[in-house]
Amino acid sequence: MNDTFSGKIWVLDDDIDTDIIIPTEYLALKSVEDMKKYAFSPLRKELAGQIRQGDIIVAGKNFGCGSSREQAPEIIKALGIKCIIAKSFARIFYRNSINNGLLLIENKQLHDDAVEGDIIDVEVNNAVYYNGREYKISSLPQNLVDIIEAGGLVKAMRRRNGLD
């Protein structure tokens, strides 16, 4: 995966849980499109309406902790977020994001320096560049690269079943 892109950043704190990303009361709405306007509403009601295609979320530790609701990464992707760069991610959220083709990047330092609204440059599997500084990032394990490159787990399974 060699990919380079830039985006405007939204900065969130530590422990952004799945009830913040999408409260349970909206989970029975019919589609991710119906749900996405409520994203992050317990924390910042206006945020979902402000995010634009290609923006990037920069967060603290344990992003996505809480429930197994897969709508959390789906909604973030539907809002147009290109990737999330956090100090760390909760386990289930991490798996769900990969399976839905949402790129996650771990970096311990960027969040401490990042200012909301700034632009950062991302070079996947190598580094993030911000304010003239380089933040190294690790590369993804091969089994996860396979899923992302197939376009997510659904497409990987369709291929297995001889459909694509």
Binding site: D15, D17, D19, I20, P23, T24, E25, L27, A28, L29, K30, S41, P42, L43, K61, N62, C65, G66, S67, S68, R69, E70, S88, F89, A90, R91, I92, R95, N96, N99, N100, P141, N143, G152, L153, V154, M157, R158, R160, N161, G162, L163
Partner: protein
Amino acid sequence: MGATIIEKIIRNNTGLEKAVANDIVTVNVDRVMIHDIFIPFVADKFEEMGFKKLWDPDKVVLIYDHLVPASQVDDTRHFKAGNEFVKKYGLNNIHRADGICHQLMTEAGYVKPGDVVFGTDSHTTTYGCVGAFSSGIGYTEMASILGTGEMWVKVPETIKVTINGVLPNNVTSKDIILKLIGDLGADGATYKALEFAGDTVENMSIASRMTIANMAIEAGAKCALFTPDYKTEEYCEISLNDMQRDLVGDDDAVYNKELTYRAEDFVPVVACPSQVDNIKPVSELSDISIDQVFIGSCTNGRLEDLQKAAAVLKGKKVAPFVKLIVTPASTKIYRQASEDGTLSVLLEAGAIVTHPGCGLCCGRTGGILTDKERVVATNNRNFLGRMGTSKVEIFLASPITAAASAIAGKIVNYDKSINIW
């Protein structure tokens, strides 16, 4: 080199005799659980992936619990999608109104020691109470398991927690797991297994072990594991085989971290709003008035939890401005609590006893709160907006602390003896 419990389970499951922490392996799934919230999405993904049949219908359990009984018209869509999936693919194990998924998976005998189990719910870690490797996944991964019976996992590193001694009378396993989450932090066990040992743990009921395993995810853990013993045999109605009897961490196993506690040092604690690792001793809180108390959930809605609450509430009344909501975790528990007099004590004290299910814990029904209201709750999450508006303050506590607080109308430390009849 010795092995941790999770390494032993994965070696046995995969036949990979040298599997160790951080290896990526493919496991053969013994059982899966899907609940009502996610069944429509699982069904859609399963068909989108191009599967025509389930890998093994007997290994699939579908449970309606979050939305039972329906509180909004839209909820019924989930039951319809579930029923259609059952009919089309021939599911045999389905529970439409028997209680909370995590309670039923062990109570109804779907999980045995050494099994590898996945569920579409983060609290699937609960089944570690009987020595199973169980963990939560999303609906896309669930759909792929339904078609293949397989799942990739990274063998987790293990944090070993040893507790020896006798717990103080007003302390429960809920106080232990809250204290541990506070010590580890909400991400302190991320990607890792928590392994429990020591005579305090050995002397615990399966129900108390369930409370601990249930909340392991709140420290980020992939799973929690207890060594199966005679209590497990009795609870699961089995005789342990050699593999199951060997599910104990070896002395020379490699651990990421080892923590040791003295049972006598534990005190009643609460998780203050709005992080599960914001832990404070109850005795340090003063004059925090409350509007509601919730005793229930897959964390603390079992018979022993209701009995402990009833022991505190016996002959007393809930404060006039407080609503006490009690939700048994399953129909079986409801019936047992009815037969042994527990429910009568709770009702006489002024409790509202609701139908079994997830109820208020997931904020969908039965006691939603509004801005600036405070609730003491025995469930597992105090996140913003979990039980109503984002300005509700949720304090997580044991059933004993919850019951005592319901009487006082504020958060109080129960310092008397508990006598369960």
